[in-house]
Symmetry: C2
Subunit: 161 residues, 2 copies
DNA sequence: CACAACTAAATTGTGCGCAACTCAATGACG
DNA sequence: CGTCATTGAGTTGCGCACAATTTAGTTGTG
């Protein structure tokens, strides 16, 4: 708890006051919020050619990697519910990238499947990650460390929620 | 750039393929996206009592910290444009937390000011940051490091954008 | 078999984020 | 002084996120 390296908030005795925390908090929540939106902006640029939004890209990644799967599974992988996925998938269907059909075994379930066009789009998506990586200015090890830290936080937050 | 400390992704020869990157990318963008939403969930809980959403809370933080200021300045601090702020501020005004009035010197500018009620809300917001911090399961130094890293990334991404 | 509990999608409503645009006020320049 | 570019807010439109609800299909139990 030495205060010599952090000039800000250094004018206080041992115990951090609520006021300090309110300022710290400002920076933590804000920096994550801002980073998330900054990523959104760069992805938006990179995905414009493909005609995909960022969340749509996430869904396509899941489909490219794991093949046909029900909406529920996609939702579990991306932690998104049907309220978000249903309209999103409808847009992907309208764009001709996926099909949606009721499962035969369980009529409640809707299986999402890539169309030929959807599969082909993968080739054009290949250069995207490198663009993003270079835009972050991070090294690969740094990215991995960040990933790990974020994963830890997400799990902790999900449990608290 | 030795990779001995990071066992993951160590099974590859020098050059990572596009396919690898596509999977890596999946995890990077997704983990940030997920972390951001996980934070949103916890803040939602913590702010429910105050009747604030997470972005509204950010605006209130700025007002508590810096006092009355034009919409433009709030937007600069939070990197939000009028398209987001105008309706948000209107909701805060309807809730009786802020007032909005045209500046006398520059009639284009609208100054946002806390009401008595808005100022008072600060006391009830004080315990929020500690709740969030403990929900993350991170130590204060870890939070500071994360903050710094995210700041670096955001700057880099904003430049690329 | 009938009925209750549960599950998967979809729908509805609210709010955020952002691009594109409008409008009024300001400032710069000839 | 008049004109034109710029600036600050606001509006519109679209898509995402999420809570709450609805609908239809499934499963469990008496």
């Amino acid at each position: 708890m030495s205060s010599s390296s952090t000039p800000a908030a250094a004018s206080h005795p041992p115990l951090a006051s609520d006021v300090d925390l309110l300022r710290l908090d400002h920076q933590v929540c804000f920096s994550l919020h801002a980073a998330s939106r900054a990523f959104g902006g760069v992805y938006r640029d990179a995905l414009k050619d493909l005609g995909l939004t960022y969340p749509q890209y996430l869904v396509m990644l899941v489909l490219w990697e794991h093949g046909p799967q029900p909406v529920k599974v996609i939702g579990e992988r991306l932690r998104l519910d049907s309220g978000t996925l249903s309209p999103l998938l409808k847009r992907l269907e309208t764009a001709g990238l996926v099909t949606r059909e009721r499962s035969a075994e369980d009529e409640r379930s809707v299986v999402v499947r890539l169309t030929e066009q959807g599969s082909d789009l993968r080739d054009r998506a290949l250069p995207v990650p490198l663009k993003i990586l270079s835009a972050t200015g991070l090294s690969v090890p740094e990215v991995l460390a960040l990933q790990q830290l974020l994963g830890r936080i997400t799990n902790a937050l999900d449990q608290a929620h």
